[in-house]
Chain length 86, copies 5
């Protein structure tokens, strides 16, 4: 799993039906690279989270027919890694 920080929501009015109405979040890694993840746990901006890719991302939503390739699967209790930027 990767470690990401939640930045904010992402709105996509035009989207495929398979994403249903699940919440999408813009997340960043420790290099500042941005990706979009489906939120399966309920996060707030600033949370440090773990994310799953590939087929695990679909199953982590609780419904493998949801076509995400990156899903937030947990909130890290404390993240004090000194290498994290900023």
């Amino acid at each position: 799993m990767n470690i990401h920080r939640v930045l904010r929501d992402l709105v996509t009015t035009a989207r495929i039906p398979d994403l249903q109405h699940r919440s999408l979040r813009v997340v960043e890694d420790d290099s500042g690279d941005l990706e979009v993840a489906l939120d399966a746990v309920g996060t707030r901006p600033g949370d440090f989270v773990i994310t799953m890719r590939t087929s695990a991302a679909r199953h982590a939503t609780g419904d493998p027919s949801i076509t995400t390739d990156l899903t937030i699967g947990g909130i890290i209790d404390h993240w004090t890694e000194e290498r994290w930027y900023d």
Copy 2:
């Protein structure tokens, strides 16, 4: 999911049957790297979109027998990320 900007269409007269007649788009990421994505929502050049990879890409087309590994699954309503190049 990744964030891409749609550049233009891509024509491949010689192609495998599994791609059917689905529209392909050249997309770029925030580094200017180019990839080719199947368009499942109907986009126009300049749109900022989210794209799915791996098995999610096939399912996002609505027909998992379509052998794409990158599919446009939604159009971002507003994208004002200051890190995006240009």
Copy 3:
């Protein structure tokens, strides 16, 4: 999908049975990085092609029991991208 240029054939006399006798090609991307792709459309050196990865690569061969992770799925009619090296 990725954009690759076909360089030449690759011969592997000792290979697993699951690759059957399918043709393999050395391909390069716009950075000059080399990979090996199964050719499902019939290409010639110099062709610009689109390639599929992950499970889409197996299905793109027409026989998902073929264990490739990169398959050439189409020939680009015209490729005039100025960013392409050389």
Copy 4:
């Protein structure tokens, strides 16, 4: 498989049910990049391990319904690679 070094445990009180109560470890590669892996063999900090990605990660847990995309599958007996940092 990748070669990782185990750094420490990772606690995620809020997590999806599919991860069950499996132990998660922060691991680093030879560049110092950090990822989170499910531990299927029982490791200690400092161990050099091999890790599996994609669908192999789920099956390596012994229960493919566990939605991990990175699983520790073995402890390397001796690792004396001079390229490893530090």
Copy 5:
């Protein structure tokens, strides 16, 4: 598929049962980056080989229950690529 050079064996006495007793090899790419691959063809140090990733890696072993994500699937007859380092 990727092009790798076989360096040497890797011993993991503590390993998950799904890897069975298959031989693992340390392989390097043309940048000198190291990975661990399951050997499905019988290689020797110094061989240039092609490797498969993702679900193709499991099927390439002849037994998809083996949880590898990188498998050696063929030995290249001649490899004279001038870009290869060293």
